[in-house]
Structures are given as structure tokens and as C-alpha cells.
């Protein structure tokens, strides 16, 4: 179990503040580092990877400083965003070289295992220069996994991957997170983070804007109405009963029955509404068929935070 602690960290380049007084702890499991382009995600990841010194504050791995401490790389696996990776080697040679640099006792076996994990064994004897972007990304993954690190840092890992490769990588990261590896990946694409990480750290303009389970974050935003899609055995009767309560501010009724119909409900008081809905349905003898939050996506959380 390995933890990265970022403590009151700021980083500036000349007059530009890239990261402004950020404190966060990244523990086992998958964490998504989310923010628009230029928000400071790469700066943070570079500090966690030991390639940038914090201007103030400290970045530590289980208490050990990361900057200028090459021994931390025994525990860290790094998947950089940049493409440069010794194109004149074959994929297998590249991963073996990484294993040798880690001083592993059997570099070939470790490389074979890592290439197997990312399903790149079949192309291991081809030169990296002939690889597609998704293949390069997977070989980068293999090179980061070859020493079985307890922390994996990935900078925009899904860039340039096709949907199938993206799914495979997500599955792999999810498995690693479930097995207790500390996985941190950055992304500016909401659906990626939403699919993979329930725990997010949001960075906006160099500041730590939010942290935690994004559904909980959404719930804390009480000044923004929550939207629900509800289908029931009697939509109109349910609508009439719900609108009578001050926790709802608007209901739109879709014409039709069953799957075609439905209510789009706007609620301002989350807690009260979640108690109200089942009570009203029971009292009126209405069966609820569907209750789904229609905007509790990361996107709405994100646009809210960015606009704030």
C-alpha cells in the first residue's frame, strides 16, 4: 500500500503560477486527475514523477521525498505523455532494457510477463517505429509495469487510442487498482474519468477545485438543481403530487406510456427530494419503473466547477 502525499505544493515558471497551493493524498485504487488543458495536471504529475521540483511544499512517497531521489523509482511506474521512446529498438528490446535498468534478476522473463499483460507479445519483435499510437501506448505501459511497481502514474494515457484499446487499458487499470496498486491518471476527457475512477481530484487553473467521489461532490452543490428522469405506472398523478412539494421546482411530462413516457424532474433540495419520491409513490399507489439522475455525470460536475 503506497501513498503519494502532496503537501501545500506550489510551482511557478517565471511569473506564471502553474500549481497553486495544492494539498492532496493519492492512495491505493484508481484516482482520476481531471482538469481542462493547461490547468496544471502535467505539472503535478511531473512533480509526482520526480521530474520537477515543487517551488514550495513537498511531494513524498510514503514519506520519502520524490525529487532527486532515484530510489523511489523502484516503487513508481511512469507512463509519460510524450512519444519519444527509442524507436530503433523492438518493443521487446525496449521493455527488456527497462527491466535491466531496474536491475531485475531476470529481465527477459519480466519483459515477457509485462508484454503479455498489455497483450503486445505478438508484436514484440517489431521495431517501435512501426507501431501505431495505441501499440506504442501499450508498450509504454509494459515498460512501466515491468518491475511491478506499487504506484503507477499515467499522463493522458488514453490519447490516440481507439475505443477497443481504451477499454482494454481501462480494464487493466481497474484490475490493478482493485489489487491495491495506487493508480493515478490525468485526463481532460470527462467520460474517461467517469468510466474508470470514482475518486477524482479536480484541478482548475492551478488550484485544487474538488476532491472525492464525484457523485458526492455533485450532491454538495446545493445551489444547482438536480435533474432526474422518472418513469412510473402513472406519470401525471406522480407529477401532480411531487410539484406540490417545495423540493421540486419544475417537472416536464413526456407524452406516451411505459418506456416512451417519463418525467423530467428538477429538484433543488436533494435530501428532501430523495425522501419525498418513494413516500409519494407509496401513498398514491404508483409503481416507480425508472429513477435515474439525468445530470449527475462528471460533465455537469466539471462544468459547474470550472464556471465557479
Amino acid at each position: 500500500m503506497t501513498t503519494i502525499a502532496i503537501d501545500n505544493v506550489s510551482r511557478w515558471f517565471g511569473n506564471v503560477v502553474a500549481v497553486n497551493d495544492v494539498t492532496m493524498t493519492i492512495g491505493p485504487g484508481v484516482t482520476g486527475l481531471l482538469g481542462p488543458n493547461g490547468a496544471g495536471k502535467s505539472t503535478l504529475i511531473n512533480m509526482m514523477g520526480g521530474f520537477l521540483a515543487p517551488s514550495t511544499g513537498s511531494v513524498t512517497l510514503d514519506g520519502d521525498p520524490i525529487w532527486r531521489n532515484e530510489q523511489v523509482y523502484r516503487r513508481i511506474g511512469l507512463v509519460p505523455e510524450r512519444e519519444g521512446m527509442y524507436d530503433f529498438l523492438t518493443g521487446r528490446e525496449f521493455v527488456i532494457a527497462n527491466a535491466e535498468l531496474h536491475g531485475l534478476p531476470d529481465p527477459r522473463a519480466a519483459a515477457r510477463k509485462a508484454l503479455d499483460t498489455v497483450e503486445m507479445d505478438y508484436a514484440g519483435s517489431r521495431k517501435i517505429s512501426t507501431y501505431s499510437k495505441g501499440m506504442r501506448q501499450r508498450v509504454k505501459m509494459a515498460s512501466a509495469l515491468v518491475h511491478e511497481p506499487s504506484v503507477l502514474l499515467l499522463d493522458e494515457p488514453f490519447n490516440g487510442m481507439d475505443p477497443r484499446q481504451r477499454m482494454q487499458l481501462m480494464d487493466l487499470l481497474r484490475r490493478m487498482g482493485d489489487n491495491g496498486t495506487t493508480v493515478l491518471f490525468s485526463s481532460h476527457i470527462l467520460e474517461e474519468v467517469e468510466q474508470l475512477a470514482s475518486h477524482i481530484e479536480v484541478i482548475v487553473a492551478g488550484r485544487h477545485a474538488a476532491s472525492g467521489d464525484f457523485r458526492k461532490i455533485r450532491r454538495l452543490m446545493t445551489d444547482r438543481p438536480h435533474r432526474y428522469l422518472v418513469r412510473s405506472s402513472d406519470d401525471r398523478a406522480l407529477a401532480a403530487a411531487l410539484i406540490a412539494d417545495p423540493s421540486t421546482t419544475g417537472i416536464q411530462v413526456d407524452a406516451g406510456d411505459g418506456a416512451d413516457g417519463g418525467l423530467h424532474i428538477q429538484a433543488v433540495d436533494f435530501t428532501r427530494f430523495t425522501e419525498l419520491l418513494p413516500r409519494v409513490a407509496r401513498d398514491q399507489g404508483i409503481r416507480l419503473l425508472t429513477v435515474s439522475p439525468s445530470d449527475e455525470s462528471l460533465e455537469s460536475v466539471f462544468s459547474y466547477l470550472v464556471a465557479a
Partner: protein
Amino acid sequence: MSSLYHPTVARLTYRALLGRRRALILFSLPALLLLIAVAVRLLTSADDATADGILGGFAIATMVPLIGVIAGTGAIGPEIDDGSVLYLLAKPVKRSTIVITKLIVAIGVTAAFSAIPTLLAGFILNGNGHQIAIAYAVAAAVASVAYSAIFLLLGTVTRHAVVAGLVYALVWEALFGSLVSGARTLSVQQWALALAQKIGEGDLITSDVALPTAVVLLVSVTLAATWYAGSKLRSLTVAGEE
């Protein structure tokens, strides 16, 4: 495993050096020197002054620094440029080990592509008369060490290492060296020639720097450049995308 030399770093470095297009220059300059030597020898008889002119004027003054630029900057510059150096740095390997290994490879490549052809050309030109071939070959080998260290350092401090290296090699060493006498004291070429002067018989080979001064300067410049390159690599920050 020695703490100064890492075989994997060495393998990656020489494969990068000899695999790229710039390796063509590594092969073409020595080929040109040997071609000139053969042509001169076919047209004229063995002559000490001609041999001295070609080895001193082309091999030592032009070929060695150019090969030094290519091998020294090429041993690290492109990796820093394209970001692949991250795969070396994100490892439990001392940064000084990485720099010293790369320096050893750069010295080896520079010496192989400059000292050996110089020796061969010397034998072709005058059959090593007055020890000229050996003297210039030693000078080339010694200069390889200092050039490699200087240009390796350049590769870690600037993205335009090749240009900066060429400016140093051609403008400083060749141009200023021949115009301003003071500049010659601070010239790797003159330090190396001081050694050649000692080995060569007669007074064909001359240097503006006394041998003790030359040795001290050679050693200290090599050590200082290597140390500084190591400390640059230790605090190498990655240019972010933002």
C-alpha cells in the same frame, strides 16, 4: 554492477549514435581523410610536410572536433529532445552513472572514428616518419576525451547543442585560434597538439601551449564538464506541455 558504468545505458547510447542518419557523417569524414591520404600518396612521394599539413590541418583541426560534436551531443541531446531520456531517468540508476556511461561511449565512438583513421592516414602519407602518424593519432584520441565531455555537456544544457558545438569547433578553434593567439591557449586542439609535439620527432608539430599546462587544462575541463553535465541531469526538469 559498477556504479560508474551501466551496460544497458551504453547499449542504448551507441545504438542511437550508430543507428541515426547523423552516423553517416561519422563514417564519411574518416573516409574522406583516407581518400585524401591515398590520393596524395599516389600523386606525390612520401613527404613529412604534406603529411603534417593534412593530419594537422584536416584531421586534428576539422575532423576530430566535428566527430566530437556528433558523438558528444548525439549521446544525450536527442533523448532529451524527444523525451525518451525519461525512461533512463525514471530508474533506480544514479544520474552520474548515466552521464559517465554516455561519456565513455562518446569517447569510444569519437576516438574510433578519429584516432584510428588518423593513424592509418599517417602511415599512408609518410609511413609514420618522425612518428607523425602516432603523434597525431594520440592527439586525436586525447582530444576525443575533452571534446566528448564538452559536447556531452552542451547536449544537456541546450536544445541547439549541435549548432553550439559547431560554432565552438569551427569558429572558436579554427577561426579565432588562427587569428587571436590568446584563444589558442583555451583550445582543445592546442592542448592535444602539445602532446603530439612531445611524441613527434623533429619540430614539425608545434603547439602554443606548454605540455604541463595542456595536461592540467585537458584533465580539469573534462572533469568539470562531466560533473556539470551530471548535475544538470540530476535536476533535469521536463518541459511541460502547458
